[in-house]
């Protein structure tokens, strides 16, 4: 059985997996690109190997090199994290063929769920309801897609068959804009996954995105760890997740959980995975897709169930039985995660790069931070903009929200712009507090300048602070000016030098 694990990833998730390895007494091995030599995952690993230049294609997507390194250093298993190679069935297969263990599902399950079109067909056959969309298996041409679109009806979504994380996705309002958007989606999908195939899905409105965390072992046990509410998205990127969902009751949770386990069983699923659903206001739910990997938002489930999902992944990969049965799983309290991205919420969420000059973390009871950054680290433009995850637990949703509010206010990241103010505004919005939102909320009904409470008082304080800062700048500037006028020390020194050398 393996005792050394290579982590084929970077950033916060690589750090997360390294920690799980260390806490299980296993040896964590990091790989890194040129830009990441000084990143935390390299610093925290027991061993670290250089992969290649900074672009992912030359480093974190180089499955061949990664397998070679694992074999050379004696790592018996590879954990892919999320993104990069995590949902590439060819990579999982190559890992197996190299005699190593892939910490994740079997390649066949990745294949089945990875082609979103195949996945839809498979779970439909198992009796799981799906969102209406293009039928049959992938590799549709532009012409085929354009032909079938009117039957599904507008608005609809173009999605990458190899997709995930909102990449290669486009919303389409009418047939005219379809061709251009297909090209754009294919281009982005090709860049992100090395696969430009896309398919169509009906764009459901007034729905929530709710997903179920699944664990499955080699011994036929499949359980779910309850749901995560992920409706707060922007451009199909999740921004804030919570568990449980304020929208589900125990009866619906149980029904959806059972369907989720059924969907996983339909592809003979192994290890951790997530079944994503859309749920409409009548509590009807539709299978959206399965993510055959660890999710960014897994910590909220860990906080409410007490189960360490990454450690469970490793235990399952070692052939162990699940330590909990479905009856053991209880959701205790409430957890919320805010994804902290290096992007400017006041300027169209444009990514922000630079060197972190200060990082003061919120700490204290009920707070968890998963991050890969520190003061002095450079945020490069090569990878995605997620730099930290702030997770708060509370006995109730109310307590979790209040805790998140104070934690966001405490969190100081300087050197790049972050979306912390976005989260502060979301958390303070009445609709969020009341649990009244859907997947369109952020884009259609949310504004950064929503909260009016005490705004005038704050504006006055801001004006005072700006004035005090400018006043100081003026004073400082005039002092420097005066100083240099008076500063004759160089001339004195020169005078002496001349006398000495005369």
């Amino acid at each position: 059985m393996f005792n050394k694990v290579l982590i084929a990833n970077r950033g916060e998730i690589a750090v997360r997996i390294i920690r799980a390895c260390r806490e299980l007494g296993l040896i964590p091995v990091a790989v890194f690109s040129e830009a990441d030599r000084e990143s935390l995952h390299v610093r925290y690993a027991e061993e670290a190997y250089y992969l290649g230049p900074s672009p992912s294609r030359e480093s974190y997507l180089r499955g061949d090199k990664i397998i070679q390194i694992a074999k050379t250093c004696g790592a018996g298993a590879i954990h892919p994290g999320y993104g990069f190679l995590a949902e590439r069935d060819d990579f999982a297969l190559q890992v197996e063929e190299a005699g190593l263990i892939f910490i994740g599902p079997r390649p066949s399950a990745i294949t089945a769920m990875g082609d979103k079109a195949v996945a839809r067909a498979t779970v439909t056959a198992a009796g799981v309801p799906v969102v209406p969309g293009t039928e049959g298996e992938g590799n549709l041409t532009d012409e085929e897609i354009i032909a079938v679109a009117p039957q599904i009806g507008f608005p609809l979504l173009i999605k990458a068959t190899a997709g995930g994380g909102g990449k290669g996705m486009r919303e389409v309002q009418n047939i005219e804009e379809l061709p251009n958007l297909i090209s754009a989606a294919r281009r982005e999908a090709e860049a992100a996954f090395g696969d430009g195939n896309v398919y169509l899905e009906k764009l459901l409105l007034d729905v929530r995105h709710i997903e179920f965390q699944i664990l499955a072992d080699e011994h036929g046990n499949v359980i779910h760890l309850g749901e995560r509410e992920c409706s707060l998205q922007r451009r199909h990127q999740k921004l804030l997740e919570e568990s449980p969902s304020p929208f589900l009751d125990e009866e619906l949770r149980q029904r959806m959980g059972e369907v989720a386990c059924k969907a996983a069983q339909a592809v003979d699923y192994l290890n951790a995975g997530t079944i994503e659903f859309l749920v409409d206001k009548d509590q009807k739910f539709y299978f959206l897709e399965m993510n055959t990997r660890l999710q960014v938002e897994h910590p909220v489930t860990e906080m409410v169930t007490g189960i360490d999902i990454v450690k469970e992944q490793i235990r399952i990969a070692r052939g162990r039985k699940l330590r909990s049965s479905q009856e053991d799983i209880r959701l205790k309290g409430w957890a919320i995660e805010c994804r902290i991205n290096a992007e400017d919420p006041y300027n169209s969420f444009l990514p922000s790069t630079g060197i972190i000059t200060q990082s003061i973390l919120p700490t204290g009871p009920g707070i968890r931070v998963d991050t890969g950054i520190y003061a002095g680290f450079a945020i490069s433009p090569f990878y995605d903009s997620l730099i930290s995850k702030l997770i708060c637990w509370g006995e109730t949703r109310g307590e979790a929200i209040l805790r998140m509010r104070r934690a966001l206010e405490e969190y100081r990241i300087l050197g790049v712009k972050t979306n912390i103010p976005f989260h502060q505004n979301i958390i303070a919005s009445h609709r969020f507090m009341a649990g009244q939102f859907d997947t369109r909320f952020v884009e259609e009904r949310f504004s950064m300048n929503n909260s009016e409470e005490g705004k005038e008082e704050l504006a006055k304080i801001a004006a005072i602070m700006a004035t005090l800062v400018e006043h100081r700048h003026h004073q400082k500037a005039s002092q420097i000016f005066r100083k240099s006028e008076r500063d004759t020390s160089n001339w004195k020194w020169l005078g002496r030098w001349e006398r000495v050398n005369r």
Binding site: K167, A184, R187, E188, A191, A192, A342, Y346, N347, S348, L350, P351, S352, T353, T357, Q358, P381, F382, Y383, D384, S385, L408, E409, R412, L414, I420, P421, H423, Q424, N425, A428, M448, N449, S451, K455, L458, A459, K460, I461, A462, A463, I464, M465, A466, T467, L468, V469, E470, H471, H473, H474
Partner: protein, 165 residues
């Protein structure tokens, strides 16, 4: 020293006389103001209330990020203010606008050509960075005066991409 801070339509008159007292719109406040750890983060105690903000000077004024709210504030001293009041309408809507790259990245596509008329909000360039495609739009109506990049170019932060005249 007397200042006028403007934000939105609002104006605040602030008089700074010593280190620990200011007069705001005629009212006196005890203050203790300092920057923290050599960063542009400032802590203000004002009549006992504790506030902390990120304050950054930019070309258009001071950006103050306070409790999750961003305020754009321009501060004038009395002399500047009088000058400005007599100098007539601003020329910002007439001068040339240089579109600078907001971050390093790759030009995915350019949807304008030199000499073309553009309206405020028109998409001009798609820039890829951090695996996301970002649309750069025109901030106002005008004509593309000079176009300095093409699809496939790698660009630096702050590099001028085109000019709207």
């Amino acid at each position: 020293m007397k200042y006028v801070a403007s934000l939105g339509g609002q104006e605040v008159e602030i008089e700074i006389n010593g280190e620990d007292e200011i007069i705001v719109d005629g009212e006196r406040y005890a203050i203790d103001f300092r920057s923290i750890a050599g960063q542009p983060v400032y802590s203000l105690l004002i009549n006992g209330r504790s506030y902390e903000a990120l304050v950054q000077l930019s070309e258009e004024g001071s950006e103050v990020l306070l409790q999750g709210q961003l305020f754009l504030i321009s501060v004038d001293d009395e002399r500047q203010r009088r000058l400005r009041q007599t100098s007539g309408p601003q020329l910002t809507e007439r001068g040339e606008f240089h579109l600078k790259s907001p971050m390093p990245g790759l030009i995915i596509s350019v949807s304008v050509r030199e000499g073309q008329e553009v309206a405020r909000g028109d998409r001009m360039i798609i820039l890829e960075s951090m695996k996301m495609q970002n649309e750069l739009k025109s901030p106002r109506d005008g004509i593309i005066r000079s176009l300095r990049v093409k699809s496939g170019d790698n660009v630096e932060h702050h590099q001028v991409l085109l000019t709207v005249g």
